[in-house]
């Protein structure tokens, strides 16, 4: 088996130790990918929890503002539509895509792929799903939105009473789920795919 470092393109063979031990590139010290079994159940649990958290964070307000007997709550989608109403279409689109569309797509694709692989079959559209999952990583920004909620709440502190809603806790859970999910290597799924379809590596 040959290993090629993703960072510096150096070809090497795995050292004699157990192949599951993490190995580092001889030249650039970047961690080398050594095929290992995918932990489908762990990943699926995180994806499903993430979906639940996603639904809650979008149905309950993230913050509620009250002043002079009036109340106003914000959810993510309300923020998007308010920004669009004010003519800031670009802001609305960026917020919608980075904090709603992409995280949801990511969780659904994970669920779809993992459920099928658990049943030992390769789902339709597996390749496109995997490419999308890889591309999404840098563009979905739930964690940034979570921090933005806190900043916005503090900025309004002198104007009104700000109470955190259930949504913000769900957002926190969602951030954790997505974060942990990304710690699993997508290449493990490719390895599994190879085994299921009988494709062989060099």
């Amino acid at each position: 088996m040959l290993l090629v470092c993703d960072h510096c393109d150096t070809v090497q063979t795995p050292s004699g130790r157990a192949p599951t031990v993490s190995q580092h590139c001889a030249r650039c010290d970047h961690e080398l990918y050594v095929p290992k079994p995918a932990r489908l159940d762990h990943m699926l649990a995180l994806a499903l929890t993430g979906i639940v958290a996603f639904v809650i964070s979008n149905t309950y307000p993230v913050v509620t503002l009250s002043a002079h007997g009036r109340e106003r709550s914000a959810t993510l989608l309300l923020a998007v539509s308010a920004a669009a109403d004010q003519g800031a279409i670009a802001v609305a689109v960026i917020t919608l895509v980075a904090t709603f569309v992409l995280p949801l797509t990511e969780l659904l694709l994970y669920t779809w792929v993992l459920l099928a692989l658990r049943e030992h079959h390769v789902p339709r559209g597996f390749r496109s799903a995997m490419h999308t999952l890889r591309a999404i990583r840098h563009w979905s920004m739930v964690e940034v939105f979570l921090l933005a909620v806190i900043v916005a709440a503090v900025k309004l502190g002198d104007l009104a009473t700000v109470t955190p809603g259930i949504g913000v806790f769900a957002l926190f859970v969602l951030t954790c789920c997505v974060g942990f999910l990304r710690r699993f290597d997508l290449r493990d799924l490719w390895t599994l795919f190879s085994r299921e379809t009988g494709a062989r590596a060099l």
Binding site: L3, H7, V11, R72, A79
Partner: protein, 220 residues
């Protein structure tokens, strides 16, 4: 010193989509796709540095309006104010939340500036084929990719403020054009760092080492 073999030199290619190692036939001009994931195989990211430079330069130009133009307008009874990125940080600091203003300062000012400067240095050194401190430069690129998207913070804050502050007659927040320019800067720097291939940095080292290797042989 022994020059480690690159996949490129052995006619191998590691797929960018799924990391499967395949053979690529040099001299054959038709495109080869990865047998496993179907992605187009290329020894280095296509477009090379040109694409990365284009995104970075666009981001740098857009950075000027992003900071000069106000990002939002707040009106409260008699008070009207337009905030730029920087004045928003100052306002937050004066309001007593130094900790949060520090976070916003880092996310909106430090990260974009450092990222653009660092990418400039990376692209420039890769362009000139510098071969020193490669490991450190690759590490820098890695860090930049991890923190880059936090700069989007201010864009989301504006969207949230617009929603929350709809208290009819006595307060209103409107987004202004600066925020779009700023979002553009963040997106462009993300594109710039993702279109840069870190292997180019190592290639320069290989080129230098093999040149050194050949010299004495040529003399003798």
């Amino acid at each position: 010193m022994n020059v480690p073999a690159r996949a490129m030199d052995l006619g191998l290619v590691s797929c960018r989509g799924c990391s499967l190692v395949s053979r690529i036939h040099r001299g054959k001009h038709e495109a080869t796709h990865c047998p496993r994931c179907g992605k187009l195989l290329a020894t280095r990211k296509p477009g090379g540095l040109t694409r990365a430079w284009a995104f970075l330069l666009a981001a740098m130009f857009l950075y000027i309006p992003a900071n000069v133009l106000p990002i939002m307008h707040t009106s409260r009874l008699t008070e009207h104010r337009s905030d730029t990125i920087l004045s928003g940080v100052v306002h937050l600091w004066e309001g007593g939340s130094w900790d949060l203003s520090l976070i916003v300062f880092v996310a909106s000012i430090v990260i974009p500036v450092v990222k653009m400067a660092a990418l400039f240095v990376l692209f420039f050194t890769a362009h000139r084929g510098h071969s020193g401190h490669v490991r450190e430069r690759v590490y820098l690129l890695h860090i930049l990719e991890l923190v880059g998207h936090w700069s989007m913070l201010d864009v989301f804050v504006v969207a949230l403020l617009v929603t929350l502050v709809k208290f009819g007659a006595f307060a209103d927040v409107e987004p202004e054009s600066g925020v779009i320019a700023f979002a553009g800067v963040v997106i462009l720097t993300l594109l710039a760092s993702s279109s840069f291939d870190p292997r180019l940095l190592w290639d320069a080292q290989v080129a230098k080492r093999s040149a050194r290797h050949i010299e004495p042989a040529g003399a003798g």
